[in-house]
Amino acid sequence: MSRSSQVERTQDAAAQNESGMEIKKGIAVSPGVSIGKSLIVDSEDYRIPRREIEPSQRAGEIQRVRDAFHDAIEELDALERGQDEATGGRIKDIFAVHLRFLRDRSLRRRITDMVHTEAVTAEYAVSTVLRSVAAHFETNVKDTYISERAADIYDIERRLLRRLLGTKREDILHLKEEVIVVARQLSPTQTAGFNRDYVKGIASDAGGRTSHAAIVARSLGIPAVVALEDLTEIVRGGDRVIIDGNRGIVIVNPDAETVHQYEEYSREFVALEHKLDTIRAKPAMTRDGVRIRLLGNIEFPDEAQIVLGKGGEGIGLYRTEFLYLNRPTEPVEQEQYEAYAEVARVFKNQPVVIRTFDLGADKYTQARRVTPEPNPFLGLRSIRFCLQNLGMFKTQLRAILRASVEGPIKIMFPLITNLQELMQARMIVHDVMEDLDEEQIRYNRDIEIGIMVETPSAALTASTLARESDFFSIGTNDLTQYTLAVDRGNELVSPLYSAADPAVLRLIRMIIQDANRAKIEASVCGETASEPEYVMLLLGMGVRTLSLTPPMIPEIKQVIRSVTIEDCNHLARTVLTMNSERQISGYLRAAARKVLPEAF
């Protein structure tokens, strides 16, 4: 950091508070407020960013270095003693060497000297000094035995950083205290592994509103803010952090007054939630008596209960990729059957739409490819991936069909782009049905089969696809991304991503009209269904079933109960004559604010 910006920071901090409170603005992706201690979660090869400190903070940072060494020594001592001489001789030796490095005063002095002279954080000094030692071994590679020492140094660095950055990284799955997770970027896999009893909030430097990590956070009901740019440079492990998932704000080291305000605000928010909960038992009906069906989008089977608790009338999108997360092998049929049947049993006579594996792109498959696809979002993903991996596809279909005797389960194929794909996928369902017949296994022969309409090509040929579909579900996230050619996770272009774009809205209208003509249902299961400002528009365009993230069901029901279809129709007609995204989103927000002022 340059001198002038450090002065600026000092002034900033002074303007706000002497205690060093910092406020960061990002994108709110999952509602709620939480206050807690931060836990930094990083990938192994992550570089610690340089962060300067005030001269007065140096003594504290030096103490952090000493504490980290002290704790790491204790940890290693225990590890070394635990190793049996006979079987673990070599490992014992390695630990013994690491211990000597940690006890090496000259190493520790290099680090504390750096903190002192350069006024940087403990973690930055630890990382920089140890990496320069490692680099020394790597560049002087005359002797392989000696150059291999670099790996040992990196290991020591990691051990110290784990101490400085919070709890041990691996412990994210075995948390024992409440934390706010702070990361540069979170993968859906990491997010899915979070224990919601302990992870009270999520904040990340990267990401967008519809990144998969955000979707997972939302479905777990964990407040989250993303796109915070350099948050990880500001926050240290153990710092007190406030996550405001309603306004998209993260506050690091809040002062007492701010904490007090937020505790108050959090109570109000909970009160609003309770108020919305009271309408749980009331029907989702417009003021002029039109019944709307509200379903839940879920990621994991145990979320079915949450949907039920929020007043959802079934599942409109059951994402099944979780079966592939956090594991090295493919899920077997029985395991899948149980996951599907469990949800069907919760809803008995209400629909459960199971989306077949939407793998590919940023998910599971890329990590396993020998050479990653250059453009995975236009690559082998979703239904394309399933049609090329028939074994796994058939296993899933078998499990779904077997579970279909438990309730009105429906099958939904994602990312259909043409009629051939749909016909092929349907044919495979029939093959699996024949197999089940031969084995005399029961299933629902009349199971409904529909598609996600989420590509421009599917939208443009909706009238054709409707002939082979029992229902449509409009996936507005991918539809927006593919129509506008915008990667929703890329902060550089994510402002261009908007479902309120006239091009997207015209496609949505086309899909709904074609579905109506074919007399099949067109529901919406994308993020727009959970955004109050879009709900009136969707109703006005003719949508009668919305599937959304469970925590938003009461609020959306409140919107529905506050409007008339006549108003919605008028709004939709007006919006569809508009030519700019800006004009449309402004108009929608104003309309929603009138209906549900406290949500804005």
């Binding site: 030796d93 390695i94 013994a96 060497v97 000597r100 490095f101 090496d104 005063r105 000259s106 190493l107 030692v133 020394h136 071994f137 002087n140 005359k142 002797d143 035995y145 000696i146 291999e148 020492r149 040992d152």
Partner: protein, 100 residues
């Protein structure tokens, strides 16, 4: 106090690394463990590079391979004993490792 400094023993000798794998982690560990048992200050030179004989980081960064001749300097009352013990470790026991 000045007198005591003058009285301090300073001894210097050369030792050759004779084990095949050189002064890698385990030998470096043995060296500093042994050196640390003595009160005297121990400094090791490999050409222009200098290391504190009680610091594993500095010793392992010396890059001493088989055949390297180290200049070992001991300053303190037990300097003689220290150098004798270290020579035994480096040249006689060869850190308990095989020669090339």
């Amino acid at each position: 106090m000045g007198d005591r400094v003058l009285e301090k023993l300073v001894r210097e000798t050369t030792m050759e690394i004779k084990n095949a794998e050189g002064l890698h982690m385990r030998p470096a560990m043995k060296f500093i463990d042994l050196a640390s048992r003595f009160d005297c200050k121990i400094t090791v030179h490999n050409g222009p590079h200098e290391a504190d004989g009680k610091s594993i980081m500095q010793m392992s960064m010396l890059e001493a391979t088989c055949g390297t001749r180290l200049q070992v300097r001991a300053e303190g009352t037990d300097a003689d004993q220290a150098l004798e013990a270290l020579r035994d470790l480096v040249e006689v026991q060869m850190f308990g490792e095989p020669p090339p």
